[in-house]
Symmetry: D2
Subunit: 337 residues, 4 copies
């Protein structure tokens, strides 16, 4: 921690700050300039609130030196984490495509779409059974029944499965049926849920919150990892800005930034980010070009009849065409499907 | 719902849209102008996703006519909701002050601060026992033990109590000990939790999410109300913007906006919004002047020793002084404590 | 400037950074901790781009110690600046009310509204003659003719006048006719214009840009002051956020923040911030309660006929009523009109 | 324009709105549903402020039907605009690379870097001579002298040139020396400048403002086009969000959105968007994959010595390597350099 004293801070204020830091078990180095005094405070203080010092008289600014996350940090683990789920690797040279409908709508429906997208090259089947809907009057998902259908459809097509968990009580059902547990954007800082997922021994796909900074995303991953579950896959899915033409703004620079700060794999979800089918393909291509480890894309055999998010779901033939385009871009960045 | 067709939409596209709307049981009124066709679709479709029509060929824009919330709307209930908890009324002519430490830190500590703030005029005692902390390495609260201390301190001083609930599993403990259950900003769209709180028969204090629109805040209230619990108190606590000098940006215009759209009471939390003690008083004054029904303010007998959020907690004497200032402003807007 | 080296930075990287800083004439203090090295660089380097160091190998973070502005800073001038324009003082204990129509629409119109608002207690008459309109097809203002009408109406009613300048070429006309030159939000970083206004010897009212940080607002003031014109009045008029119910989000916490960082007066403009007449009064009251030095409010005798911004203009009787309410709040914060 | 009346609007309110619309020369179609009345108002009213109706009693919402821009709209001109500057085409199948230093720093410097980047495949040479700097104490550019050096270096290497114009007074110098006039992000809504550029007969490169919506960007283009200059190149360069790890957030979805709404070419500037050299390459690749018509990238022979924006400038060898990568991605989206 570095404490910058104000230009006009009294010697007494400076002494008080040094006293407080020492009391907190920091080693303090003082550097007195012509205009200002700067204090370097050395020590390991991950949970500490820097504002405690910031509000003291005479303090101009406090700067945290160490990152607040540790297990998620590339400083701690320089080499990339590669997560293996059956035959699928996430985080290595091979890209991963997670695709499927927004919601599991029925047994036949999910089997049909699974076959289609597996043929096109996807290796992970997505589909929601517990749905976080902004309206209490909207379709809320098939629940555990949906998880069974999803699992069956995935297995039939040699795929692994991913589905969303909304609360701790749903974890057992997800553990029984699916391979990867997804945490939605609105639950990224549901700390109770994150803590429980730390006890799980299946990979967690963690979506970035609508207004979460990259640091907060990594801190949410840290919650899960601090519990002992190191298999966390991050997902950029758009942040909220003033621009209203797209549902959210896909922040693709988050991909190279996360790659630098952390060893965890990161994928992109252009379907939720844009909210409109015709913007999914260009953003999917751009995500690969920016260095993502994979994609999550919504596909539905009849989007106009979908029970949720139809307007952002691709038609099967659009998905197939997109996979072809992505293959070429993957090569350009030294990756393959 | 109003559907605006593009200037160059073909007659066939228009016919398709009319067909789709009719299929969805809407009554369709067509209005053909020189440049564009506009379709009015009449019918009750609260959970419908307007993008389903928006992505059809020839459609330029779809506009929802009815508000997505119903029970929370002033159209449905024109008169203000007043929530009574023991002797305290929230939402009427009398302002309510909720105050206390960020976390309950111990039995003696909470009793001491409760006595102080009750004397200064607060009628609701706040204090967290289950703490949503962004770092897994920070103090996570005393749990049910903390709730007991809070309740005891409130009763001793003739106050009612409010504390945060983070997940459904904690609801029974909260129901046993406290009077008002608080949903934190990060859980505003934790729909599982909201649904469970709909079954409760104690008031819920619902904080606006960091990037939630006012409409989303009202939709979250709707979730609780749809379950049968009509006692929802809204809380503006700052939104996330690009400005970094304050922790968040207190959106005070949300107060008159909510007052127009909804009959529910709304209070403001200047402590979390600003994150700095010296900005709490001006923002508290401004909140009253903007028409809030009450305030939630963090106070600690020794903020520099607080286990959480000390830097934004007022000293007891600051709180007392503030109460005096607020009294005069309350009069100016025709309210009283 | 403080340079935080990464935990795994090599000694060579650290030496390179020290070399670079020394080359730039900084005095460097090195503080080597167990995990990380921190370098304090002392010297006066206002124009320097800290990213120059930040991109060097091994550097984790660079923190600027001194504020980038100087003349606008309270560190340099601790006492409040009070600007006197004829009989009007801006920045002292007395609040100032600037009011009038969005645009000067004609000689009779401005005289009529000036008389009305002067009677209600306003001392500064506002009215645009050069209008920055987002559409090239909208009314663009009466130009110099409008300035004459404004000036005449102000003088007749014992008021001073303020009007917007959009480009350097308009400065002579404004200097001839009005007392205060206003820079609009969209021109806050029109550096050519700011530089020219530094040569002027009349006060400048500088509005905060839609996405400007408080620091950028102070830097824009610094541009004007660096040219020798120290009479700058700042104005908070709403920032752009994701919330769409109001036109912008009035950031009232900017008022106490600016009061701490700078000695310059700051007023608030609730008309542009909210964009809707019915939200002006609560936000005007809140601004006074938050500690503003004054207000700028749009008033029109027939808002529904206004040539611009009618929907946010108050009716004369609303303005009169508001002035009464504001008087009581002013007393509560120890100010008067 | 579509006017949605509130559910509880009186017949008198509805009649008043119809009267007002008729008075404004709209043809009004009334559609009365069970719960609400909707009015369709047909007529050509580009400059009109919809809030004029929105604030009338009984009105719930007003929706603009036609886009506020016309000349920039793809509805008006379905085929892509291709701008030709000497041998360079912007907007067609061939991608364009604009590169060079942030500022022209001297005659030899610009000639050296021009030769390097021309060899690597760039066809447009960028370099600022009038610099909009946030600090009045920073290097402000070489002025007209710089334009001469830029022009000379471009010609020598068979390139065309682009440089920024900050105010109307600089237009003659730019017209004399450079091929494309650039409007910076902070001047996107400097309407005086836009109007003057409408009279010019050289292409204008218009950068999106830091908090400008896509619609506002197109409206700014409309200003220039309304003056008779149809050669406008749009540029996405990052918007301001809460994320602080990158300087701005490059909004790549703006590219397909603009391509749908407008016929004008659009390029991306990853250097200003990210502000950091190591993020430029991934974002440049992503921009091509998203469908941009070209790129603007800062390159400097010795970035650490650059007089401005060195930290985001590529080294010549990085630029050359990037050009190779971009070539493959261009093929993947059916384009070439």
């Amino acid at each position: 921690m570095v404490v910058v004293m104000a230009g006009n801070a009294s010697e007494e204020s400076t002494a008080n700050v040094i006293g407080k830091l020492t009391e907190m078990n920091f080693d303090v180095h003082r550097s007195t300039g012509v205009n200002q005094t700067v204090l370097g405070a050395v020590g390991d203080k991950r949970g500490l609130d820097p504002r405690l010092i910031e509000v003291m008289p005479g303090v101009q600014k406090v700067v945290r030196v160490s990152e607040p996350y540790k297990l998620a940090s590339r400083t701690v683990q320089p080499e990339d984490t590669v997560i293996k789920v059956k035959d699928v690797s996430i985080g290595g040279d091979k890209l991963v495509m997670m695709a499927g409908p927004c919601s599991v709508e029925g047994r036949d429906e999910i089997r049909e779409i699974a076959a289609t997208i597996a043929r096109a090259g996807a290796s992970v089947l997505r589909g929601g059974a517990y749905k976080p809907r902004t309206s209490p009057y909207s379709f809320q998902g098939l629940g555990e029944e949906g998880l069974k259908y999803l699992s069956e459809a995935a297995t039939e097509n040699g795929m692994v499965s991913v589905s969303e968990v909304m609360e701790s009580g749903q974890i057992p059902a997800l553990l029984e049926h699916v391979d990867i547990l997804q945490v939605g954007a609105r639950n990224m800082q549901n700390f109770s849920l994150l803590r429980e997922l730390g006890k799980v021994r299946k990979p967690v796909l963690l979506k970035r919150g609508l207004s979460a900074t990259i640091e907060e995303l990594l801190m949410a991953a840290e919650y899960i990892m601090a519990g002992g579950n190191f298999e966390v896959i991050l997902c950029e899915r758009g942040i909220r800005t003033f621009e209203k033409y797209t549902r959210n703004t896909l922040d693709l620079s988050a991909i190279p930034v996360v790659k630098k700060l952390s060893h965890l794999p990161i994928i992109a979800d252009p379907s939720h980010a844009t909210g409109r089918r015709d913007k999914v393909a260009p953003m999917a291509r751009a995500s690969i070009a920016a260095g993502t480890d994979g994609l999550m894309i919504e596909v539905h055999q009849q989007p106009e009849m979908a029970m949720s998010d139809g307007p952002q779901s691709l038609y099967p033939e659009q998905f197939q065409k997109l996979m072809g385009e992505l293959e070429i871009i993957a090569q350009a960045v030294g990756k393959k499907w």
